[in-house]
Symmetry: C2
Subunit: 109 residues, 2 copies
């Protein structure tokens, strides 16, 4: 697709020069996913219900049964402005990712 | 490949039931990448030189010219145990990811 990763701190690489690494493409996927769900009330934040949709639809194995999600949403505050910025979203996935262990490939498979 | 994502907090899904979403696969890529570089001195941490290799080889567009990397390494402490755990690695990429803006697809391309 035509999206490009562009670090604001630097001069943006011309699109034709961009061959993202697997790792960069993975980061891009996460960023795009955040913005795909951040529709209501601004592209830069997720509402609690948007976050619930994202987790249910996109993280069924990483955060099954919404594990701990409602607590985390409650901690964001009960006011109307309990919106989630990308940094907080990143921390949330990071917490889940830390508890992941990778299984070794099954020998011979 | 044969790796599976497995959340320690929950019963591990049987491998055959795992159809990871794009987002989960992206997270898996980041976790695998961390462990691919964390060879010396334990699979759970990156040494400063391992971190340099990872950033140079895998994040050339996201963190070009190692932007700010040496400062961050210095902040980890100057002792022998200045090793980077996954959580800190995740924060480091998160900082870079926050400064990313996605370019809209070029119309008609």
């Amino acid at each position: 697709d035509g999206w490009g990763l562009c670090n604001m701190g630097d001069v943006c690489c011309p699109q034709e020069a961009q061959e993202l690494s697997d790792v960069e493409r993975a980061i891009e996927t996460l960023i795009k996913n955040f913005h795909q769900y951040s529709v209501e009330g601004g592209k830069e934040t997720l509402t609690p219900s948007e976050l619930r949709h994202l987790v249910t639809q996109q993280l069924p194995h990483l955060m099954p049964n919404n594990c701990g999600l409602e607590e985390k949403i409650a901690n964001l505050g009960s006011c109307n402005d309990s919106k989630l910025e990308f940094g907080t979203f990143w921390e949330l996935i990071g917490e889940a990712a830390k508890s992941v262990k990778l299984e070794s490939p099954v020998p011979g498979s």
